[in-house]
């Protein structure tokens, strides 16, 4: 401040202003540095960031990692706040982490009884050693665990699953409460601890104001649960219960529990394999499944239970949705195949596209990545359209490197060809759009699908146990869906209930197969498809294969529904099992023609304007 006064005193007003700003910035910097010494303040900042990211991006790996970091920070913040018996705080936190991650948050009563006894035993021993002083710290250690559970959605789970009425108060908590930041605010150091840091005090005030806003604001119109002044009559209560059940039966509400389930799967995936997992995709798929399930149950007038979901009427309904657009059959990427098939044109940026003569060659690169060494042909074609008069069209002739005429054979893993287009008539001066087409003739893909066939069990309970064991062993996550390699298109198919890959003898099973266009081009024609399921009987008989499938124009760019039918009988080895169950994998393959297009602009100039000369070798390589 002395410097500032000195500068002002000297009459150097401008310099003094700059100095004041610098000093102001220094003051802010000093405050931030001072506040950052408090882990609680850092927690508030990181907690707010986590809350914003969660709302913008949704749950994902980043949020998971941030939650874990905040969980650890919460332990230290609590320890700093309590100031004594710091170690005791971490005992319940460690116990929680072991239970949550090592034991997959099991609620097995026998396990919990032993685990909690051991846990409380350790805390009690700690309490005895510290002469009771660590008891408060130990109990406080449960708070970060509670916040972690609430932050990842357990409150939503309680609301969705247990049937707690959703009050405005809860909506406020669910939507707007940044739990970790709240924890940070609650553990911010006091005046003495914070050494009078203004930023900490400001954060505390802002935090409390926000929390009060979240807690109080939503309840003004109808404070908490409505109309608790008088007890409702029996009929009214029953109706209310029914309404509530209907409310929670909708799939939108179920999303909260799906979120928890998907986050659980994401945790498992990250910790087990380190692989990525899209929580949002997972929620979307579960919601779609729920909607179909709800519609089919409603249509058939069925109660929601597992027995009704095995009725032919329900399965038929679900299969029709699956095959005919209510929801398409879905599949996932085959994680055992890393390389994708790609094919694309790539224009040459260095070319100006300006030519002196109307008789020229304009090149473009065509590249194919063919990781499975499939053998297929690419038929090139091209043409010019005047940009001034779109009716003026001139066909082009293709000269492509490595090709015979306009036909390129692809066998190798990676193929590149320079494709030049020459107008068949001399173009007059003007601007033209040039369109290249590459028809990939006979490209193939496939999708694997696994199913488990179970033998009749002695009791329903044994059946359920067997199914549970099979699901855990063979169908974790979304492994019950067909798995296809990434490429220009994907085969997606299913048989039986899509989400219940267990097949029991005697059931009629719906089967559906679609092709999904995942590239930038169009599916031109489907030459053939086949599903390798020898020994199965189907209705109609010719369901497992087809040739030359007619396509509708609007299906070419998105999805082609190939077939839908029923499996009516199993092969003998699967209908009479010698073991508890049999695990099998089947493959569906498809072969089709795929059209890729690219456009570029060229201009034919006057002879005296100058243009880019093009030389082309005998093999078609353009220099």
């Amino acid at each position: 401040m002395g410097i500032v006064q000195a500068l002002k005193g000297s009459g150097a007003g401008q310099v003094a202003d700059v100095a004041t700003k610098v000093t102001g910035l220094q003051l802010v910097g000093k405050q931030i540095v001072g506040a950052a010494r408090s882990i609680s303040w850092v927690m508030v900042v990181v907690g707010v960031i986590e809350f914003i990211l969660k709302n913008v991006l949704g749950y994902g790996q980043l949020i998971t990692v941030l939650s874990i970091i905040l969980f650890i920070m919460a332990g230290f913040a609590l320890a700093a706040r309590l100031g004594k018996d710091k170690l005791a705080i971490f005992i319940p936190m460690i116990l929680f982490v072991i239970w949550y991650f090592l034991y997959s948050a099991t609620f097995d009563p026998a396990f919990l009884a032993v685990y909690l006894s051991v846990g409380f035993g350790i805390m009690a021993l700690f309490g005895i050693i510290s002469k009771g002083q660590s008891v408060i710290s130990s109990l406080a250690g449960f708070l970060p665990c509670l916040v972690l559970l609430v932050d990842v959605g357990y409150l939503a789970l309680l609301v969705g699953k247990v049937g707690i009425p959703v009050t405005n108060f809860m909506v406020g908590l669910l939507k707007y409460m940044p739990w970790w930041a709240f924890f940070g605010v609650m553990t911010l150091p006091t005046e003495e601890g914070g050494r009078g840091n203004a930023l900490i005090q400001l954060t505390r005030i802002a935090g409390i104001v926000y929390i009060v806003f979240v807690l109080i604001a939503p309840v003004f119109p109808n404070i908490g649960r409505e109309d608790l002044n008088a007890l409702p009559g029996l009929a009214e209560a029953q109706q209310a219960q029914k309404d509530l059940q209907e409310q929670f039966s909708t799939c939108e509400n179920e999303q909260r529990s799906y979120r928890l389930e998907c986050i659980g799967q994401s945790f498992g995936k990250i910790f087990d394999t380190g692989e990525t997992f899209s929580v949002d995709n997972c929620i979307a798929e579960k919601t779609k499944e729920c909607e179909i399930d709800f519609q089919c149950l409603t249509q058939q007038g069925l109660q929601a239970n597992s027995a009704n979901r095995r009725t032919p009427a329900y399965m038929e309904c679900k299969a029709s949705f699956t095959a005919k657009g209510g929801q398409s059959v879905v599949g996932i990427k085959d994680e055992t195949i890393k390389e994708a098939m790609t094919a694309k044109f790539s224009d040459r940026k260095s070319l100006t596209g300006q030519y002196r003569s109307g008789d020229f060659l304009h090149p473009i690169d065509f590249m194919v990545e063919n990781p499975r060494n499939d053998d297929f042909n690419v038929l090139f074609s091209c043409g010019f359209t005047s940009t001034i008069d779109s009716k003026l069209k001139v066909p082009g002739t293709i000269i492509a490197s490595g090709a015979q005429g306009n036909l390129l054979n692809v066998k190798d893993k990676s193929v590149k060809s320079t494709v030049a287009c020459k107008p068949q008539l001399t173009l007059v001066k003007g601007k033209y759009k040039i369109e290249y087409q590459a028809e990939l003739q006979g490209i193939q893909s496939f999708a694997r699908l696994q199913r488990a066939f179970i033998a009749p069990q002695a009791s329903e309970r044994e059946r359920e146990n067997l199914i549970k064991r099979i699901m855990q062993l063979h169908f974790p996550g979304q492994k019950y869906l067909s798995q296809a390699p990434a490429g220009l298109f994907e085969v997606q198919w299913s048989f039986g209930q899509e989400d219940a890959p267990i097949v029991e003898s005697g059931n009629i099973l719906p089967l559906a197969i679609v092709l999904r266009n995942t590239g930038q081009g169009e599916i031109e024609t489907v030459n053939w498809y086949r599903i390798n399921m020898e020994g199965f009987s189907t209705d109609p008989n010719d369901c497992l294969a087809g040739t030359n499938i007619a396509l509708l124009q609007d299906t070419k760019v998105a999805k082609v529904d190939l077939n839908f039918c029923y499996i009516t009988g199993l092969p003998i080895d699967l209908s009479t099992l010698s073991q508890d169950y049999a695990y099998r994998e089947y493959t569906a393959e498809a072969n089709l023609n795929y059209l890729i297009k690219a456009t570029d602009n060229v201009e034919v100039l006057d002879a005296n304007q100058g243009a880019t000369p093009i030389n082309i070798s005998a093999e078609g390589d353009v220099a």
């Binding site: 170690l87 350790i122 055992t336 990781p371 694997r448 488990a452 044994e462 994998e585």
Partner: protein
């Protein structure tokens, strides 16, 4: 520092407690194997190799069965379930072992047996880097469990006539060296003219598998047969299928004619069928992909 020392002391105590809860109890020079919990241990000896199987080549699944029960395991049936045959042709899928002796004074380590399943790996789909197949190694076997304890018989509920032994209401047991264990017993005195005692015996599955059928082969109190039945079983009161239950209750009634209290031996012999499911994985890897990576 004090807190750190306290924490380490705590861990040390926990370690000591853990080490004391083993399955052997030394009494003089003899070891009582029929105490604590035992199990039939199964492990694959070449598990690491089975994660790197080359397509088209042969492989072997080598499993070691180690009977750490205090009783013989009989009629062992070892089955591999859940393999996809187009990737893994394993033969035979089922093997049998007649007997694996349990731990005893003459065989303190218990029997071990190594079994082999031969297999051929199939091909990977084009450009796949690997194929992983989880499967179950199911081991079914029959075994037994014996329970003995000295109990006090005293129908004088209020101790008016007799100041002898006292009936213990609740007793806990660490196990009898088997997966099936008598974990707890309650004794209920029925006073009056038709005096008697009821023993409520809690049987627990201490193993990792499923108890399929438990049969009470013998139940005696001081050499006299007891009237026993599993709770809820009517047709076959001496048989019980645990299914997925962890604990079941056996009720045994004894008529008592003696007026004075005395101590005597309660002996129960059980046989049971057990099913153990061990999860493993076979993995075919693309050797070219491995070289590239």
């Amino acid at each position: 520092m004090k807190k750190v020392i306290s924490l380490f002391s705590l861990l040390l105590i926990a370690a000591l407690i853990t080490s004391c809860s083993g399955t052997q109890q030394i009494s003089g020079v003899t070891t009582n194997y029929k105490i604590g919990s035992g199990d039939l241990n199964v492990k694959l000896l070449n598990e690491a190799i089975l994660q790197k199987i080359i397509p088209g080549l042969e492989f072997k699944i080598i499993a070691e069965l180690d009977n750490q029960l205090a009783y013989d395991a009989k009629n062992l049936d070892i089955v591999i379930t859940g393999l996809e045959p187009s990737y893994f042709q394993v033969y035979p899928l089922e093997q049998k072992i007649t007997l694996l002796q349990g731990k005893s004074i003459t065989n303190p380590a218990g029997d071990k047996e190594i079994i082999e399943f031969s297999g051929n790996a199939g091909s990977l789909v084009k450009s796949a880097q690997y194929y992983a197949n989880k499967y179950l190694l199911q081991i079914n076997y029959d075994s037994a469990m014996e329970f003995q304890d000295t109990v006090c018989i005293n129908t004088d509920l209020y101790g008016v006539n007799d100041a002898g032994c006292k009936v213990q209401d609740k007793l806990s047991y660490p196990g009898q060296g088997a997966v099936l264990a008598v974990s707890k017993m309650e004794q209920v005195v029925i006073p009056g003219s038709s005096a008697g005692m009821q023993f409520r015996i809690f049987l627990t599955n201490r193993g990792q598998g499923e108890l399929k059928k438990v049969t009470l082969d013998k139940s005696e109190l001081g050499g006299e047969a007891l009237d026993c039945k599993f709770q809820g079983e009517i047709d076959k009161p001496l048989e019980y299928d645990f299914k997925d239950k962890q604990t079941v209750l056996l009720l045994c009634d004894a008529a008592v004619s003696e007026q004075i209290s005395y101590q005597t031996i309660l002996a129960l012999d059980f046989s049971y069928h057990y099913k153990l499911n061990k999860k493993y994985q076979l993995k075919i890897v693309n050797p070219n992909a491995a070289l590239v990576s």
